[in-house]
Symmetry: C2
Subunit: 226 residues, 2 copies
Amino acid sequence: MIKLSNINKHYSTGSHQLHVLKDINLEIGSGELVSIMGSSGSGKSTLLNILGILDEYDSGEYSLDNTLIKNLSEQKAAKYRNEFIGFIFQSFHLLGYKNAMENVALPLYYKGVSRKKRNKLALEYLDKVGLKEWAEHMPSQLSGGQQQRVSIARALITHPKLILADEPTGALDSVTSQSVMNLFREVNKLGITVIIVTHEKDISDLTDRQILLKDGAILEKEDVDV
Amino acid sequence: MIKLSNINKHYSTGSHQLHVLKDINLEIGSGELVSIMGSSGSGKSTLLNILGILDEYDSGEYSLDNTLIKNLSEQKAAKYRNEFIGFIFQSFHLLGYKNAMENVALPLYYKGVSRKKRNKLALEYLDKVGLKEWAEHMPSQLSGGQQQRVSIARALITHPKLILADEPTGALDSVTSQSVMNLFREVNKLGITVIIVTHEKDISDLTDRQILLKDGAILEKEDVDV
Ligand SMILES: Nc1ncnc2c1ncn2[C@@H]1O[C@H](COP(=O)(O)OP(=O)(O)OP(=O)(O)O)[C@@H](O)[C@H]1O
Ligand SMILES: Nc1ncnc2c1ncn2[C@@H]1O[C@H](COP(=O)(O)OP(=O)(O)OP(=O)(O)O)[C@@H](O)[C@H]1O
Ligand SMILES: [Mg+2]
Ligand SMILES: [Mg+2]
C-alpha cells in the first residue's frame, strides 16, 4: 500500500537549511493499523503530509498502491487525494463559514453526492463522534475537542482506502479519546489502512505497529500482535 | 485573587440555548497552582475566557484581585488583560505575519519596551522553551508543538500576576510536556498564580489543586500537598 524509499526532505528558512526527513525507508501494508510517535519537531507532520500528497519530497521515491507519487500536477494530486485518502489535520482546517454538518459532508460534495444524501450521512458520522446535536454549530461555536471530532468525521465519511490522522486525540479527554480509537479500529477491521501520528502512549498502545521518528529518521519496535 | 460567585453562561445557537456554566462558585488564592479538568465540551475554555476577561458572563460576579469584572468597556478590559494576565490559547493565536521572536515580544511592545530590549528578552524566553534556533521561523514554518511553545513563551514574558493556560501541552510529547510544566512550577514559585486547563492526568498531578468541571458545574478534590 505504502512504500517510501530513501525519502529526504529539507526546509530552507532565511539563513539556514533544516534536513527534516533523513533517508526514510518504510513499508506499510494494506489494512495495517500503525502509530508514529516522536518528539515535537521530529518530522511527523512533514512525513504525514508527504504520505497525504499534500507536500513534496526532495529525493527518493514514494509509491502509493503501486502508483509512483512524484512530480504530480496539482490536478493529479487532488484526484488521488480525493479518491484515496482521508486526512485529519493537526489543526483541523474546518471551513469557518460552514456548519459542522456541512464540513463533514464536504468530501461527498466533491464526489457529486446529492445534498439530501450527503447531509443524512454527515449526521450519521457526527453521531458516531457524539456530536449529532451540534450539527448546526459553526466551527467558532464548537470547543477544541468538538472541532477535532468534526474533522475526524469528515475524514471517515467517504470510506477512503487510507486514513492519515495527525494527533487525532490531541484535544480530547481520555474517555472521548477511547471512543475515537474504537472508531479507528472499527474502520480498520473493514480493511482501511490507518496511520496515526500521536504523542500519547495510551493511544499508540492500541495500534498494531509502533514506529518512532527520531531526529528525522525511523526507528521501529517489533510488530505487535494484538 | 479570583472569586467567582454564581456565574452562569449561556450560548444561543439558532434554535436552542446551551447552558454551559451553571452556578459556578470558585475561589483561587494568589500564588496557587491549579488544574481544571473535564471532558470535551464541558465548558473549560468558556470558564478560562471569562477569567481572562475575553468573554462576558450572564449572571453572577467575577472579582479579580478585588476588582469587580462586570460590564467593562473594551478599553478597560484590554487594560486589565495587558497589565495582569498571560493567556495561552487552545489554538495558539500567533500572528501569521510575524516570526516566532516577534510574536513572543509582542506583549512587551504593548508595554512600550524598546525593540532591542524586547527582542533580547524574547530570545531568552524562546530558549526556555527550547526554540532559540527557531526565532526567525514564521508560524507556518513551525510544527504544532513549536507553535504551542511560542504561545507559552509569549504568555510568560511580561511576568503577569495570573497565567491562564488552555491545554498548554496538548501538542507536546511527554518529555517536552515535562519541561513546560517545570517552567510553570518555576514561575509559580515566584508567586505567579497559574491555572492550567488540561485533559491529561499526568499534567494535573503536577499541580497543587485539581478542579473538575462536569456538565458545566464544579466538583473539587481536596487540596493536594506537593
Ligand atoms: N460561541 C458559541 N456558541 C455556541 N456554543 C458554543 C460557543 N462556544 C462554545 N460553545 C459550546 O459550549 C460548550 C463548551 O465549550 P468549551 O469550548 O468551553 O468546552 P471545553 O471544555 O473547552 O472543551 P474541549 O476540551 O473540547 O476544548 C460546547 O458544547 C460548545 O459547543
Ligand atoms: N515550512 C517550513 N519551513 C521551515 N521549517 C519548517 C517548515 N515546516 C516545518 N518546519 C520545521 O520542520 C521540523 C519538523 O516539523 P513537523 O511539523 O513535521 O514536526 P512534528 O513532528 O509534527 O512536531 P509536533 O509534534 O510539534 O507537531 C520542525 O523543526 C519545524 O520547525
Ligand atoms: Mg505535527
Ligand atoms: Mg477547550
